[in-house]
Symmetry: C2
Subunit: 346 residues, 2 copies
DNA sequence: TTGTATGCGTTATCAA
DNA sequence: TTGATAACGCATACAA
């Protein structure tokens, strides 16, 4: 304590400091830390002692520079405000952390431009791999990826023709599956509240799925029944208001997130419209709350945790053992609940 | 195109490559990139040309090693599953990104041990600053922080006696404020559903606040009315079940997150208990959904975005201009809604 | 305005 | 089993 120079704390201890204190060379310390089995019992002990004595912490950048890789992967998502992305990020972080990898985050707000910028910023920061959302990357982003040769996996959308390996659900099938359920229940006029489909391929494919189901019975999605909003509660509620205020009312509304579905339900409640009595409402994602609201929400569950696990697993296999990374289709799941219960007999 | 060697893409271009192609020295390129005003118009153009020609991307680790700092800050949170943390992280990331800083994430699951480990891992990765949650860090974490001299700001709890600068609300006051509202409404038996207070100082202080309000009128929190759960919906619902199944039923239940409050409401609904008719329920955080559910939820809003902004601002001021970072108290806000409406006349 | 030299902290390659 | 030495890619001080 008292024998410590007062203000020595400024400069963090380096490998050299430890070496000096332990009376060995820097390389030996380095070895002792990375492959302890290669160094003599006694020396190793002196070294660990010196390490803790000095509070030595390895310098990540120096390690990376010296060729060990940065031990970090970048994850670029639209926004953490959407539960599925938060779950994905958390899962990936937890799994990678076990292997000593960290994760760097980037948000796009759903803007493809920003997706490129964020991805590039992460690459510049030196991430060893990248996780992106969906399979609609801009060409220049694809080019960047191949140029720097960084491994990438995309999440949430499975597309066999994707340029990048992807882990996700078949969004078209998911949309269709939900629409078919609604049709089965007798709801034949289906509206959709979605995030902008231009920048969100998952939503676009879900719309296709719904349309496809409708086409089966000779119908189509009416243009005025396809409403885009920013995905957050207030605008989703407004969207529902617009739907209810239109000339013709839909019998069912599919929202591409549970959050939007809950907001839509709120608008119905405010207007005294029974759900599912007069209008059925369904969501997407199957967040933990969807069965806690009134009425419990029918939803297509997207298994974010499973997707995150698979991605982390693939990334690690590649990063550690140079394994090739391939795509994986994970199953969505239709959660049938009251919000799309049988249509009330009129 | 065709004149490019086939497999040159393996090794990413370096400053030296750019320099060679532009016919200047590496340092000139370095300057052209960091302080363009210091280099001749013409050379600068040749350099930018060479840069894009080669698809040159600066090597973050090398930059960091050469003394420019890592340009990254670490954020250690319990879990992204809780909306407030997701909002905090997103806000901080967005603000720091503008200044060229990235963020590295760590999750603790509410475990103080893991908080230490994650923080340490981030320090090792070279973050220039750290954001932690609450003001109950383990002593060894505090020691680590002073040892390595990394700037830290804590979020969500304001505590003037905190060892670290903090930006947050007065949780004790927030708890008291909510309890007082309930007492005003005539609910005098108040129960609490909370995350473990041992590892969560915010919750502990809120409990204190509620207790304090009760003490004002000569009452106290009954031990069996204080239930801890993991904070997620299912266990919160179970907690509510336990409360309802007890000998004596509370008249009001305060949940320390909106998610838990919604789950608690669901349990009441399932048991046919009117909210707020028979039991009032209140939440915390004021997430976007709290006014969309039925009944709309009374909640104490914790301004996560504002807190994130303030933190990012302080961090940047310190990182860029070496400004000292101080604490800030931000105001919570009582959102009065139906879930704690007047007690039904019996 | 530009170039040269040096160092950042670590790992890897080689000898000893 | 250990130590010396050379990278790693970039940013500076300093010289030109």
């Amino acid at each position: 304590m008292a024998d410590e120079p007062i203000s020595e704390k400024k400069r963090p201890a380096t490998l050299g400091d430890v070496a000096r204190l332990a009376g060995v060379s820097a390389s030996t310390v380095s070895r002792a830390l990375s492959r302890p089995d290669l160094v003599n019992e006694a020396t190793r002990e002196r070294i660990t002692w010196a390490v803790s004595r000095l509070g030595y912490i390895p310098h990540g950048a120096a390690r990376a520079l010296a060729g060990r890789g940065h031990r970090a992967v970048g994850v670029v998502i639209p926004s953490l405000r959407f539960g599925v992305f938060a779950e994905l990020v958390e899962t990936i972080q937890a799994r990678l952390d076990e292997a000593g990898f960290g994760i760097l985050l980037g948000h796009t707000g759903g803007d493809p431009e920003r997706e490129y910028e964020q991805a590039r910023a992460l690459v510049e920061r030196g991430v060893d791999a990248l996780v992106l959302i969906g399979n609609a990357q801009q060409p220049r982003l694809l080019r960047l990826i191949t140029d720097v040769g960084v491994p990438v996996v995309t999440a949430f959308d499975y597309d066999e023709s994707s340029a990048l390996p992807c882990v996700g659900v078949d969004n078209e099938a998911a949309g269709r599956c939900l629409a078919e359920h609604l049709l089965d229940q007798g709801y034949d006029e289906i509206a959709i509240i979605t995030q902008p489909t231009l920048s969100n391929d998952r939503s676009g494919k879900r719309v296709d799925g719904v349309a496809s189901a409708l086409r089966q019975i000779g119908r189509a999605v009416r243009p005025e029944f396809l409403i885009e909003c920013d995905g957050l509660a207030p605008s989703a509620r407004d969207a529902m208001g617009a739907l209810l205020g239109g000339e013709k009312r839909p019998r069912a509304v599919v929202c591409f997130s549970d959050l939007m579905a809950i907001a839509a339900t709120a608008e119905c409640r405010a207007q005294g419209i029974a759900v599912p009595g007069e209008i059925a409402i369904a969501g997407f994602s199957g967040i933990g709350l969807s069965d806690m609201v009134d009425p419990p929400l029918t939803s297509v569950r997207i298994p974010a945790v499973e997707i995150g696990d698979l991605i982390a697993e693939r990334l690690l296999a590649h990063l550690m053992d140079r394994a090739a990374v391939g795509s994986a289709l994970v199953a969505h799941e239709l959660l049938l609940r009251e919000s799309t219960g049988a249509l009330r007999e009129l």
